[in-house]
Structures are given as structure tokens and as C-alpha cells.
């Protein structure tokens, strides 16, 4: 089904002929996605009807108004990584926001930036660092959009102990609502600037997103303010060495350690204490045991060799209850305080520094990985793809409980040969806002090109999701279509309220609801 001639021309008039396409080759590059096979059985989800590259809020608004007028659905994305970016059903437009790519402001004193959708984490970070600031980078990588993380997606990152969570970092927002009207959240709407996203009155941030964003189901975000955080390192961060052994020299104001504990319980105690002591710039399981061997290897082959080596030499036990922590401080005195506090915490919880990861070159690599948030795509490298599970945002004890369960469950699938044998424990995550809440998601790596592996991975994700209900482990992080329908009934029927929000804000249902909520309850649910 092609767009009716006049509709195409109307859209073309809005964005210009060079910024719209319905060429199959272009459309396919938007249908192809990571995890597409879990939706369609192939690497391709539904092809969008056309792809548009709007260049500013006025164009976005005009497109959405046209969509409302002609009954056309649309879905926007920024960097477009993950199946939730794909469209569902025939005739849906894909809006690729990459032409909106400016950092509009970095307010050094008030510690925030204003960005457009296609500013990626690395870009904002380097510009912020020049001004003694840093931004929250999500663990998925600094190649993702700052705005998307703040407005539309999730937002866990390993500096979260110091830089929070994306939901809590968003300030004012420019938002083209599903009906095409522009809502300016918070202080922006009152002409007061970008420093706040809440009010007048109730905060419409609550409609904009929750723990997870609306994933394209509630309009398009075209600008947002995001909090920046202090950066205690130098204004530029040179990288030394040859990849994959390239590292970032650790500034004097930082300390980098990997820690190990005698048990999950001891680890949990330590994390609570670290949070209370208000120490740490990075803290969490950035490299769960199964990923530590991946730190400085160049290929899956080398990883497998390294994993086998450390396993046979019994080193995996050393990594078992591990976390990484970077101390970062404004002054030498503060750093000394943090070091002493960490020392005490280790002594109280029976933890210790993993000596084999204390080598300077290894620490430099780790520093690069986590400050720059650039290492996680490694999880694609080993088996071809990965999926994640559990990982509710909750108290650290509950996060640990879910990890213990996840590891146990994974072993069943490892023994079956369905997923990569990473040792079982690939619980990735951390504790955020000085440990006020945390998350540990259990990652599995598998080969989607192998039918048994794909089936096993699907079953694992489903079984783990079911367990979160049975064991009250919080809502899992894995994002699939129909999630609200599945979990709503277990959680105060929130899906019913979401549906009402969808209908109220998008009466013509033009914003693709496939990863938000369908306007009508599916039959049989």
C-alpha cells in the first residue's frame, strides 16, 4: 500500500523531497532490527510506509497534523536501536529525527543542557566535560540519544549512583502531542526557560513517561533539558593505546577498582553502605563475571579462549560476587575520605579488591568503558545477539534477589545448550542516586540464527517474566509488545489507565501504539 499521491506530496512539501522516501531499500533499513526475529521471525519487522526526516519542530508538527487529517499512523525515533523503534501494521510513517541534532545550550552554572533528539551521549558528554560537567550515559551505550533516554525509553547507566536515572534527569521538554499541538513542559511552557519540567500544577512528565517511556506511542519529543552532573576529571579525555587495549588514563581525582565479596548478601550489604556513605562516581556490575573476560579481547574467539582460561584456572570464583566502583572527588581530601570509607566497607562486608584487575592498563580500559559507556555492544559479539530479563527498578535487596533467581533459571537453559554458557551470572546493573534504588538485569547471549537457541531464549525470557509475577520481583525490563496488557492485571490494572491516557491524548490513534498500548483491549484478554 503506497501513500495516496496527494498525501505523499503534502508530506514532501513539509520536509522537502530529499527528506522523504518510500524506496523499498530505504524502508527495509528501518524495518531491520535487533530482536526483530522475536516479533516477525526474520530480521525485518514491518516496513514503514515512508520514512521522513523532519528538520525542526514545525515540520514534526505539520507531519503529525497531516497524519491526523488523513488517518495515518507514525512512529518517531532518534537513534533507532531496538525493536520498539519499528512500526506495526500497514501504512505507518517512520520519522527519523536525525536532522535535529543540535546541543542548543549548556548552562554551566545551573548544570543542565538543552538538546535535540539526535544528540548522542558521547557528543553531549565531551562538550559538558569541557565545562566541568558530565551527563548520565545509559549502559546501552553513548551512541544512543540523550533525549530519547530522557523522554521516551529507559535510562540505566553505571554512573547512576552519581548521575541518577534518565527519568529523573529530564527537565523542560518540547513535545509535539499526538494531535499535533506543541506542549512545552514545565518552565518552558511559561516562558521561564529550561530548568524545570513540572507544572504549573501536576507534572505532565507523568504522562510523558514512566519507568519506561511511551516508546513512540505518545507523540514526538523535539527538544529537552537534561541535568548535567559534576565531572571531576580533565576537560578532555585522551585515549591511549591500541584497540582493544586502549584505555583512558585515570585522572588523579579518580580511583578505579573491581571488588569481590564472599556472597550475594555481603555484596548487597556493601552496596547499601556505599550508597549511604555517598561515595562512588561509578558503581555497579558493569562487568558481571561472564563479561570480565571480554574486557580486553578483540573477538568472540578470544573471549571464548579467555573465558575457558579463567574458568579452568579457577579465576571465575574471584569474579563471582563482583562489582566495579570508581571513586571520583572534587578534592584530594574528599578522595581520601572516599577511599577510607570504601576500605571500611570492604572490611565490614568481607569484600576485597580483585588484585588481578588492579593492573593499571586494565583499569584504564575499564575507565574508558564505563566513563564513556561504550562497551556494552560486546554482548552482541559473542553469540550474535542478547536479550535481557528481570531488572526491575527496585531496592537493591530485591535486585539481588532477582539476580539470584535469574542465575538459577539461566543454568537450566545453559545446560540445555540453548544459550551461551557465560557461567550463569550475567546480572548487569547498579544502584542509582546514592543507592536509593537499583536494578540488576539478567542478560542472556544466544544465537538467533539457531532455531533451538532462539526458542530457548524466548522461553527463558517468558519464564523469567512469569517469575517476576509469582515472586513479586517487580516489573521486568524486557520490552515486548503487549507488556502492559500482560503486567497491568498484576499491578493495579495500570494498563486500563494507560489506555485512557492514550485515547485522551491521541484520539485518532495516530501515534503507533504497538509498544505503548493498543486503544482497544485485544479480544480474549
Amino acid at each position: 500500500m503506497a501513500l495516496r499521491g496527494n498525501v505523499y506530496r503534502i508530506l514532501e512539501d513539509i520536509v522537502g523531497p530529499q527528506n522523504i522516501s518510500e524506496e523499498p531499500v530505504i524502508l527495509d533499513t528501518y524495518a531491520f532490527q535487533w530482536l526483530a526475529e522475536t516479533i516477525s521471525g526474520t530480521k525485518f519487522c514491518t516496513r514503514p510506509e515512508a520514512v521522513l526526516l523532519p528538520g525542526n519542530v514545525e515540520e514534526v508538527q505539520a507531519i503529525i497534523k497531516a497524519c491526523n487529517r488523513y488517518g495515518i499512523r507514525y512512529k518517531a525515533f532518534s537513534t533507532g536501536w531496538g525493536p520498539w523503534n519499528t512500526v506495526e501494521g500497514e501504512g505507518v510513517l517512520q520519522l527519523d529525527l536525525r536532522r535535529m541534532n543540535r546541543i542548543l545550550e549548556i548552562d554551566e552554572k545551573n548544570m543542565y543542557a538543552v538538546v535535540e533528539p539526535y544528540v548522542i551521549g558521547s557528543q553531549l558528554q565531551v562538550e559538558a566535560m569541557r565545562k566541568g560537567l558530565n551527563c548520565h550515559l545509559i549502559g546501552a551505550g553513548a551512541n544512543t540519544s540523550i533525549l530519547a533516554s530522557a523522554t521516551s525509553m529507559a535510562g540505566y547507566g553505571l554512573t547512576g549512583i552519581f548521575t541518577g536515572y534518565s527519568n529523573c534527569n529530564v527537565l523542560a521538554v518540547e513535545w509535539v502531542l499526538p494531535d499535533g499541538e506543541v506542549l512545552r513542559l514545565g518552565s518552558l511552557g511559561s516562558g521561564a526557560g529550561w530548568f524545570g519540567g513540572d507544572g504549573p500544577g501536576p507534572s505532565l512528565r507523568g504522562v510523558m513517561r514512566g519507568m519506561i517511556g511511551a516508546l513512540g506511542g505518545l507523540g514526538v519529543f523535539t527538544k529537552c533539558g537534561v541535568k548535567l552532573y559534576p565531572w571531576y576529571g580533565p576537560p578532555t579525555t585522551p585515549i591511549e593505546g591500541i584497540h582493544p587495549l586502549d584505555g583512558m588514563p585515570i585522572p588523579e581525582s579518580f580511583r578505579v577498582h573491581s571488588l569481590t565479596f564472599p556472597s550475594w548478601e555481603a555484596l548487597a550489604d556493601a552496596v547499601y553502605r556505599i550508597g549511604e556513605a555517598e561515595i562512588g562516581y561509578v558503581m555497579g556490575r558493569a562487568l558481571p563475571p561472564g563479561l570480565i573476560p571480554a574486557l580486553n579481547v578483540g573477538s568472540a574467539t578470544e573471549y571464548a579462549q579467555m573465558l575457558q582460561l579463567v574458568s579452568t584456572e579457577g579465576m571465575m570464583d574471584e569474579f563471582k560476587y563482583a562489582i566495579q566502583i570508581f571513586l571520583g572527588a572534587n578534592s584530594a581530601r574528599e578522595l581520601e575520605y572516599q577511599e577510607r570509607a570504601l576500605e571500611e566497607i570492604l572490611s565490614e562486608s568481607g569484600g576485597k579488591i580483585i588484585l588481578m584487575l588492579e593492573e593499571q592498563s586494565v583499569k584504564n580500559i575499564l575507565f574508558r568503558h564505563l566513563i564513556k559507556s561504550e562497551g556494552i555492544s560486546r554482548v552482541f559479539q559473542l553469540a550474535g545477539t542478547f536479550a535481557t530479563s528481570l531488572g526491575a527498578g527496585t531496592s537493591w535487596d530485591a535486585a539481588v534477589a532477582s539476580s539470584k533467581f535469574g542465575e538459577q533459571l539461566k543454568r537450566k537453559y545453559i545446560e540445555r545448550g540453548a544459550i551461551a554458557d557465560d557461567g550463569g551470572d550475567l546480572a548487569w546493573g547498579g544502584a542509582y542516586q546514592h543507592g536509593r534504588f537499583g536494578h540488576l538485569e539478567e542478560i542472556i547471549m544466544y544465537d538467533f540464527q539457531d532455531a533451538d537457541s532462539l526458542k530457548g531464549a524466548d522461553e527463558y525470557v517468558e519464564e523469567s517474566a512469569q517469575a517476576t509475577i509469582e515472586k513479586s520481583l517487580g516489573q521486568p525490563i524486557s520490552i515486548v509488545r503487549g507488556m502492559a496488557e500482560h503486567f497491568g492485571p498484576t499491578s493495579c490494572d495500570y494498563h486500563i489507565w494507560m489506555r485512557r491516557i492514550k485515547k485522551a491524548f491521541d484520539p485518532n490513534i495516530t501515534a503507533d501504539p504497538s509498544f505503548y498500548i493498543e486503544p482497544e483491549q485485544p479480544p480474549g484478554k
Binding site: L53, Q123, E127, N143, S299, A300, G384, D422
Partner: protein, 424 residues
């Protein structure tokens, strides 16, 4: 390996878009964070390496057929390989190889660009890609006192390449090069009008047959002539010798050096002594073909195997080219040897360098895109505050000259050879 052989790899692309950017830790500013000219120019995802891999898969699976747009997507790319370096930071994929195979498939299927056909016609008739007469090839050196290697032996064969041979604006650089070599006492010869194209550009635009013909010709000729050392000041040719020639499996009995490597060697051996001051602040542009694209080809044949349940490994282990073994220090060392000259670096350097715009058949087929790409590099050079942009490749030189002429940017442009000669 054919495109089909890369099918598994292609499917493993996660659409992370890392191929669009410098490796994340290498990004130094918002302005110069991009790695891929094609993506910034074309904007749709299809113009990225990942996008082209998806397009290849779509084509293989019969989801799409050839269209003008597909062909444009395939060819609107300099094949500079920055995407490849970025992708491999954490992945076992070979996007550049996939893109090369995709072009080969296009040619095989008759999906070619008129501008490229002109190049190939010229190659077929006159052994060059510039539409010039073969008879004119040696003219650049006509009045030079230099050996003709087709008539007499020399220790070093200087290979000018198509661009230096025919681009009169650049003849001075080639002539300066000979002067430098002679000053160092090098026994150097050239092939004059008997020189033929290296075939590299043909490979890049997908014409495998032509490439093989020229690669075989060069190797056989030089092996037969007992050439021991080939020195070229064309980075494109150098890249072809290093990255593409090994693919045809013919033994090369000669060493190939880029002029910057050779000059560096001559300076370090004391055969060239730059003593005159050249008070100039310069920034150096790493030509793609001298940098990441000169990293030698690493052949691999094997199978995928599973270990640790579902971890997919290559058996035998496959070594990946990451661009780190390109020629980066020799040109810089040559510049550093010049007194009074100060080298300041751009943000995107070495294996992360931004392309000049000329490669991959883009200059011929999409001149506007080529010029924009050069403009971007000139902006980056200007941002360093340097007075001059220095490069070591006639294609880069041409591209920058055209751009400077057009955009009027106030920055001087030199080949490294010119500066060294000034210092002697």
C-alpha cells in the same frame, strides 16, 4: 568471500549505528563526532555501513530489487572504511568487506553508474581512470633526469599513479618527489608512459575483473623486472597494493613503500637532512588509503563453530583489521623533522580520520558530495588554528584544492613532500 558468505555476519548487525560515529571514546566534540560522510550527506539509515549491510541482506533475500536509489546508496560512499573501524570496536563484523562485495555484485548484475563506466572505459582503453590518453602518461616527468625502468634497472621504482600522472596541477609534487629522492642519492626509476593504473579504484567501484587484470599486470611486470622496492606517493595506489593486491593470491617479490615511509627512512638514515626552518603551523590529514585502508589484507578461510553452548567463533580464528596498522607515524615524523614547523592535530586522525571526499568513485560520480566531504575536513583543519593543511595523497590534494577554490577558505594546502623540500 562473496556477499552470500557474509550473510550470517550481516544478520548479526544490531543496527546500533556505531558505524556512523567515531569510536565513542574517540569523540572529542559535537562538531566532529561523525565518522561517515555518506551518512551525514544522505541522512537515511541506508547510507550508513549498517544500512548497506541491511540493503545487501534485503537484496540477497529478494525483498528488494535494483532501483536507481539502491544503486545510488551503494555508490554514494567513498569506501573510506571509518565505519569498519568503529564497528569493530566491539563486533566481529566486516562492514567494509560487505560493501565491497555489494558493489561487486552490482557490477556483476549490470547495476553500474555511467560515471564509473567512463572510468572503466578509460581504464580499458588507456590504462587510467581519468579519461586521459595513455600516451600522455609520462609527461609529468618528461624533462626530469630520471631513469626509465622499462629500459634500465633502478633500486627503486617510483610509481606515480593515475592522478599524479595526469593532473597537471599536481605534477610539481611528483617532480619534487623525484628531486627529493635524488637528493638522498636514491637510484630511482619510473615507468613513464608504460605505467598503468594500479587497479585499486576499479576494485573499489566493484569491477573485479579489471582490478585483477591490473593487479596481475603490476605484480607480474615488477616481479619480472626484478623490482625490489616500489615507492608511491599516491596513497590510493598504496592502499591498493596493501589491501587489495593480496586478494588475488600472487606473490609480490617487492616491497611497497609510501613516499612518507621512504622519506622518513631516508631522514632517519641521515640521507636527507632538513635543516632549513619552515616556520609554519600545520595540521596533517591522514589519507584513508594511507591510514586504515593500507592495513594489509588478512586472508581467512574457515567456518563458524559454536563453543560454550552458543558462542559463535571463527575456526580457525579470524584476525580482524582494525585500522591500527595503517601508516600514521612516518608522515608525522617527517613533519616533525622539519625545524620551525609545528604539527597540531585535528580531532579525527589516524584510523579515525575523516575522508577527503575523493575515494570510492565518488569524486567522479557525485562531485558535489565529494566537495562537501572535503569542506568538512577543511573546517576541521581550520578549527585547529593551523595555517596549513598537509596531506600525502594526490586524490586528497585534488579534493581539497577543488573545495578551497569553491569555498574560499583561508588555509594553505601542501603535500608533505613540498614542505620537506622547502626544509632542505
Amino acid at each position: 568471500m562473496t556477499l552470500q558468505d557474509y550473510r550470517n555476519d550481516i544478520q548479526r548487525c544490531s543496527r546500533c549505528s556505531l558505524c556512523k560515529w567515531l569510536p565513542l571514546a574517540q569523540i572529542k566534540s559535537w562538531r566532529f563526532a561523525n565518522a561517515c560522510p555518506s551518512m551525514v550527506w544522505g541522512n537515511f539509515h541506508a547510507y550508513s555501513a549498517g544500512g548497506r549491510m541491511i540493503a545487501a541482506l534485503s537484496l540477497l533475500d529478494g525483498r528488494i530489487d535494483y532501483t536507481d536509489k539502491l544503486v545510488e546508496i551503494v555508490y554514494q560512499c567513498q569506501m573510506g572504511g571509518a565505519c569498519d573501524v568503529s564497528c569493530k570496536v566491539n563486533r566481529d563484523l566486516d562492514p567494509l568487506e560487505v560493501m565491497l562485495e555489494l558493489r561487486a555484485k552490482c557490477v556483476e548484475d549490470g547495476q553500474v553508474l555511467p560515471a564509473h563506466m567512463v572510468m572503466i572505459e578509460s581504464l580499458r582503453s588507456d590504462d587510467n581512470v581519468l579519461g586521459e590518453l595513455k600516451a600522455e602518461r609520462g609527461k609529468w616527468a618528461e624533462d626530469l633526469d630520471v631513469k626509465d625502468i622499462t629500459k634500465e634497472k633502478a633500486d627503486v621504482l617510483y610509481f606515480a599513479g593515475c592522478r599524479y600522472s595526469f593532473d597537471q596541477d599536481l605534477w610539481k609534487i611528483a617532480r619534487d618527489t623525484i628531486a627529493l629522492l635524488k637528493m638522498a642519492g636514491v637510484d630511482v626509476g619510473i615507468s613513464g608512459k608504460e605505467e598503468a593504473c594500479c587497479g585499486g579504484r576499479a576494485f573499489e567501484i566493484g569491477y573485479r575483473g579489471e582490478f585483477t587484470k591490473y593487479a596481475e599486470h603490476s605484480i607480474e611486470t615488477w616481479n619480472a623486472a626484478d623490482v625490489r622496492t616500489v615507492v608511491t606517493s599516491c596513497s590510493d595506489c598504496y592502499g591498493a597494493f596493501k589491501f587489495h593486491y593480496p586478494r588475488i593470491g600472487k606473490k609480490m617479490n617487492f616491497e611497497v613503500l609510501h613516499i612518507t615511509e621512504y622519506l622518513d627512512r631516508l631522514i632517519k638514515e641521515g640521507r636527507l637532512k632538513p635543516t632549513k626552518k619552515v616556520p609554519l603551523q600545520v595540521t596533517y590529514h591522514d589519507p584513508c588509503h594511507l591510514g586504515r585502508l593500507s592495513e594489509p589484507y588478512i586472508p581467512w578461510e574457515g567456518v563458524e563453530r559454536k563453543v560454550l553452548g552458543q558462542v559463535v567463533i571463527k575456526d580457525p580464528p579470524k584476525e580482524y583489521r582494525r585500522g591500527t596498522n595503517g601508516i600514521y607515524e612516518p608522515p608525522r615524523d617527517v613533519l616533525r623533522s622539519i625545524q620551525g614547523l609545528e604539527l597540531v592535530e585535528m580531532e579525527r586522525i589516524k584510523e579515525y580520520a575523516w575522508c577527503c571526499g575523493a575515494g570510492g568513485g565518488v569524486m567522479e560520480a557525485y562531485p558535489e558530495f565529494a566537495q562537501w566531504t572535503a569542506d568538512e575536513r577543511i573546517e576541521e583543519a581550520k578549527a585547529t588554528g593551523a595555517e596549513a593543511l598537509v596531506t600525502a595523497c594526490p586524490w586528497c590534494e585534488r579534493s581539497f584544492r577543488d573545495a578551497l577554490e569553491h569555498n574560499g577558505a583561508k588555509i594553505k594546502l601542501y603535500d608533505i613532500v613540498e614542505l620537506l623540500l622547502e626544509a632542505l
